[in-house]
């Protein structure tokens, strides 16, 4: 009865409130039984300096990032909309595919004019590379289409010219690329071959009479597919093709090809078709390309690894085709690094929105006439969102580690970069999708509105788990590489060195039979547990593979058969490697509230890793200990609850780049805000 009365009262209040005839008569300052929006920044306190925290997790170029945020915030091109008295920028996804593509190009031109890309290809050194990463992280917070189109232009085309090309290519193309005198694409993937680049079917021959290469698409599966920029804008591309010299296939090589003239007309002997509408990224003009005896001058072969002499002789310093191919692919790692580190930032958008909403949205009261409970005050809601916060912090530190690893690369570190970037790219992009989905659901129906971003980002960023290397294949490569390390160490009877595998040289850690809260929060224990899983899975994987080999299976076949252990091992490696970067970041800090909060996040991250099924499946944790871990997680969640706002504010994402439900969602949805 009480409940019925209460509902009637609320309804009555609503009805009287919403009388549209005379808003003037409603005293605007009096309170009523309707819900009010109470800004979380007025009730939540910051226990640590959020600017300091932001510096720590952004890691570099904070001022540059803010400048770029500001450039977008101040231009009409970025589609500002006022909601609830605040300005939000986000592309108009209601535009047609063609319109979205044109807007992407216009935004790029605007940023170009402001000097954002200055030095991106013409300067060398660590500074400009870090600056580029920072800008991509910021751009990817706004929209994946602009980040992807620029990624293709600068990282794929630009990187290929820089790394596969030699001086005359650099002189001829880099400046024009940087100032967009040419618009560039990268034609690697084909309908029939994606991850398996060595299998591409495009064929190039050499005509010594004219000194030209002749490129052909011999069959439908050889059509170039998903080529970003090809459908509308690109004037140039880099074609990946088998090179056939005098009947000998020399493997995959890369050629510069002009596919459109300066007026945008498609060149003769080239056919281009659109890839059509997609589940996201409609601001990128992905196209398909066919080559019909298409000729390019001899100099257009990117010849850092191999060349063809004017009279048609194949010349390469690397004799082994496997090594040649590896040398060819190594520089492309930058794209993978970029995807991995950018993925962290969409997760940040999703979680900042979901947590801010959970700090202002109430649902259900315990007793009639009591105020309803704030979503984030439900332990269950904390359990859904706060572990994701720990994951994002862990990924932030790991991303900074990966960027540094990349910009400080040496020939010796190439293998490490390949393995770590593969592992992090797969892990971060999978985490990103999981985090966005949870955040979408945590926002309820509001999460479904495109303007609230969280749900829409899923479609926009789903592709991350596929492009620049399918996640599953990347993770298999990680496990394969770990196995190779194992075999090498055994064969030479030498200790493990590198990839963080040094723990394999020490005695096997032992998990106490009765875990306590203190132990669970100790970083040494956490590290031991993660190392134990990695070590044991590596041993099991090696044993499994050799068992297949003993039965007469080939190494390749043995790998394929041991896929389950390979997957578990890949995850174990990633979790441990990420955790290690967290511990290292924490160690740089002086004692204080900031370090304390990070300690809680680190423990939470470690404990959710310990919830991976492998710990029970392979018996690293007893059933009792697994239950203790689970209890401890809820405890840390409740301790982190007071820091939730500060922790998402530390992401440094300006309000403008979040969404209306992250702020005054009542005013944003009021009748007066409706466009009549």
């Amino acid at each position: 009865m009480d409940r019925a009365l209460q509902r009637t009262k609320i309804l009555t209040d609503h009805l009287f409130q919403s009388s549209p005839s005379s808003p003037a008569q409603t005293p605007s300052l009096s309170s009523n039984a309707c819900l009010n929006y109470s800004p979380p920044e007025l009730s939540e306190n910051y226990a640590f300096d959020i600017k300091h925290m932001r510096k720590l997790i952004d890691g570099h170029n904070v001022e540059e990032r803010d400048w770029l945020f500001g450039l977008m915030r101040q231009s009409k091109l970025f589609n500002p909309k006022v909601r609830g008295g605040k300005v939000f920028v986000s592309p108009d996804y209601n535009q047609s595919m063609e319109q979205q593509r044109e807007m992407t190009m216009k935004r790029i031109e605007y940023l170009l004019e402001r000097g954002v890309f200055r030095g991106w290809l013409t300067e060398i050194g660590e500074e400009v590379q870090m600056r580029k990463f920072a800008c991509f992280e910021v751009l990817s917070i706004y929209d994946h289409s602009i980040a992807t189109k620029l990624g293709v232009h600068f990282f794929l085309w630009g990187g290929a010219i820089q790394f596969f090309g030699t001086k005359h290519h650099h002189d001829k193309w880099l400046r024009d690329t940087e100032n967009f005198s040419i618009k560039c694409s990268f034609a690697m993937t084909e309908l029939g071959h994606g991850s398996n680049v060595r299998g591409v079917e495009t064929v190039t021959t050499y005509d010594s009479n004219t000194g030209e290469f002749v490129i052909n698409t011999p069959c439908e599966t050889a059509q170039k597919y998903w080529i970003g920029g090809a459908a509308n804008h690109a004037t140039h591309t880099i074609v990946f093709s088998q090179l056939n010299i005098n009947g000998t296939n020399q493997g995959v090589h890369a050629f510069i090809a002009q596919i459109r003239d300066a007026n945008g007309n498609i060149c003769p002997n080239i056919r281009i078709a659109d890839c059509g509408h997609k589940i996201g990224l409609n601001g990128v003009d992905n196209g398909r390309i066919w080559f019909d005896n298409f000729r390019v001058p001899r100099e257009n072969l990117l010849n850092s690894v191999a060349d063809v002499s004017p009279d048609g002789k194949y010349l390469s310093s690397i004799k082994d085709p496997d090594q040649r191919f590896a040398a060819f692919m190594a520089p492309l790692t930058v794209g993978r690094v970029n995807i991995a580190v950018s993925a962290v930032y969409q997760s940040k958008v999703g979680l900042a929105v979901a947590i801010r909403y959970a700090l202002t949205r109430r649902a259900f009261s315990l007793k009639p006439n009591e105020p309803e409970i704030l979503l984030l005050d439900y332990p269950s809601h904390q359990r859904r969102l706060l572990p994701l916060l720990a994951k994002i912090y862990a990924m932030s530190f790991a991303a900074n580690y990966l960027k540094m690893l990349y910009v400080k690369r040496t020939p010796q570190s190439n293998k490490t970069i390949h393995i770590v970037s593969s592992s992090f790219k797969a892990t971060f992009t999978w985490n990103n999708m999981q985090i966005l989905q949870e955040c979408r659901e945590a926002c309820g129906g509001q999460g479904l509105k495109t303007e609230n971003r969280v749900g829409h980002l899923k479609g926009e960023y789903d592709v991350q788990s596929t492009f620049e290397g399918d996640n599953n294949i990347l993770m298999q490569q990680v496990s394969k590489a770990l196995l190779a390390e194992y075999v090498a160490a055994q064969k030479r009877n030498k200790a493990f060195k590198g990839l963080g595998l040094e723990h394999m040289n020490k005695p096997c850690p032992i998990i106490p039979s009765q875990l306590t809260s203190t132990t669970l929060r100790c970083s040494q224990f956490q590290m031991d547990a993660l190392c134990l899983r990695e070590r044991d899975l590596l041993n099991l994987f090696v044993a499994d593979v050799s068992q297949y080999q003993a039965k007469g299976e080939s190494t390749e076949r043995a790998f394929i058969m041991s896929y389950q252990l390979a997957e578990d091992l890949g995850r174990a490696f990633s979790d441990r490697a990420i955790f290690q970067t967290f511990v290292e970041a924490e160690a740089t800090l002086a004692a204080g509230s900031l370090k304390d909060v990070l300690g809680m996040l680190r423990s939470l991250y470690a404990l959710i890793c310990l919830e991976d099924a492998a710990f029970l499946r392979y018996g690293y944790l007893s059933v009792g200990n697994a239950a203790t871990v689970r209890r401890e997680i809820t405890k840390i969640c409740s301790e982190l609850r007071p820091h939730a706002l500060a922790l998402v504010s530390s992401f440094g994402i300006p309000d403008t780049f979040l969404s209306p439900i992250a702020f005054n969602w009542i005013d944003a949805n009021s009748w007066s805000s409706v466009e009549h």
Binding site: A24, L29, S31, Q74
Partner: protein, 378 residues
């Protein structure tokens, strides 16, 4: 004691008309420059009116030809610690006004500069007239646009805020309205009628108050040579990443088109304190992405560093050259933009790690039902 209280009260005149309160800044000889007493008095009045159900509207104006020409800087430089305290009070007032639950109407019939802008532009209604002269001239004084300017300047269209904040360019009433610094333009002849009409308002309703002001409004036209007609050039140049790049872009523009306004802008920038230019640009850029509270907290950190004079003494030198000796020839140190490292600029934005120099503590606002337009500023 009694006389000091009375002089404090004389500096801000108070009138009551039904539910409106009219506060008049009353130091006409000093162009109503805000003294510590005035700020304290205003704070006291604003706090009291917020709690007082009989007050529904606050009107702020100035006596004489100025609304308010700024903070009483000459007094501030005499004593560093007291100076910091002055800014602390002033910024607290700025925050209170920015988050005020009742409408504030500021009548800007004359000079509105620096601290005067801070005491008016955060309020809900800003009425400009043909006599309005707005400027944030701090960079010429070795200071930076404070009083929450990093919030309100950064929200002007395009990169007009950077232009206004770095050059100290003067805007008239029409320009103030066009860029959004003013919400209304009323010819000064109509002000008495407007004020009389506002005295009768017995409401805090924004729609009602706005419609009353609307009745006296005129649509002024921008002068042909108005800077606001140069937004394209301003956007191109003042959106650049650094002060150096802003200058070099301006210099490129001058080569393309001989233009007196652009060369004058370059000259102004070259005369300003290089340190001030760098911290001002950074502060406006950060402010663009922050709420008004964090803007004031940051500005207070910067002003503490300025007052301590350990990183640069430009503010003291500027006050000497402009306000005291009036030789208008300040010797800035460092004297050139290139001599200022990014890490030095960083220092201005860091917390002063000395006990008596604490961060600005903003007054609690959570006990009020803040109106949506205030919530949006947080």
């Amino acid at each position: 004691m009694a006389s000091s209280v009375s002089s404090q009260q004389d500096q801000v005149l108070v009138e009551a008309h039904s539910s409106a309160r009219i506060l008049t800044l009353n130091r006409p000889k000093q162009l109503n420059a805000l003294s510590f007493q005035m700020i304290s008095r205003l704070l006291e009045l604003f706090f009291a009116y917020e709690e007082d159900p009989n007050v529904k509207l606050v009107i702020l104006k100035g006596k004489g030809r100025a609304f308010c020409a700024g903070g009483d800087v000459a007094a501030v430089v005499r004593d560093t610690r007291a100076g910091a305290n002055f800014f602390l009070k002033e910024y607290t007032l700025n925050y209170l006004m920015a988050t005020y639950i009742k409408p504030q109407v500021s009548i800007l019939n004359g000079i509105v500069m620096g601290g005067g802008a801070g005491a008016s532009l955060h309020g809900r209604f800003r009425v400009a007239t043909e006599n309005s002269v707005f400027a944030m001239p701090e960079t010429a004084l070795g200071l930076f646009p404070d009083v929450g300017a990093s919030y309100f300047l950064s929200r002007l269209p395009g990169f007009f805020g950077e232009y206004v904040g770095l050059t100290g360019s003067r805007l008239d009433g029409a320009e103030m309205l066009a860029c959004g610094l003013a919400t209304h333009f009323v010819p000064s002849a109509k002000l008495p009628m407007l004020e009389a009409a506002l005295y009768e308002v017995d409401s805090s309703d924004l729609v009602i108050i706005s419609s009353i002001i609307d009745q006296y409004c005129e649509q002024p036209s921008l002068k042909e040579q108005s800077v606001y007609n140069r937004l394209d050039v301003i956007d191109r140049c003042f959106s650049q990443k650094t002060v150096e790049e802003i200058l070099s872009t301006l210099e490129r523009e001058v080569v393309h088109q001989m233009d007196g306004w652009i060369s004058a802008t370059i000259q102004t920038l070259k005369k300003a304190s290089p340190t001030s230019l760098k911290i001002s640009l950074r502060s406006i850029r950060e402010g663009r992405l922050q709420g008004v509270g964090p803007c004031l907290v940051r500005e207070y950190r910067i002003v503490c560093h300025v007052m301590r004079g350990e990183l640069s003494k430009d503010f003291f030198e500027g006050c000497r050259a402009i306000l005291l000796d009036k030789d208008r020839n300040p010797k800035w140190e460092p004297s050139k933009l290139e001599l200022i490292a990014d890490s030095t600029v960083d220092c201005y934005f860091s917390k002063v790690n000395i006990e008596e120099w604490e961060d600005l503590k903003l007054p609690t606002r959570s006990k009020f039902n803040l109106p949506p337009y205030v919530i949006a500023k947080l």
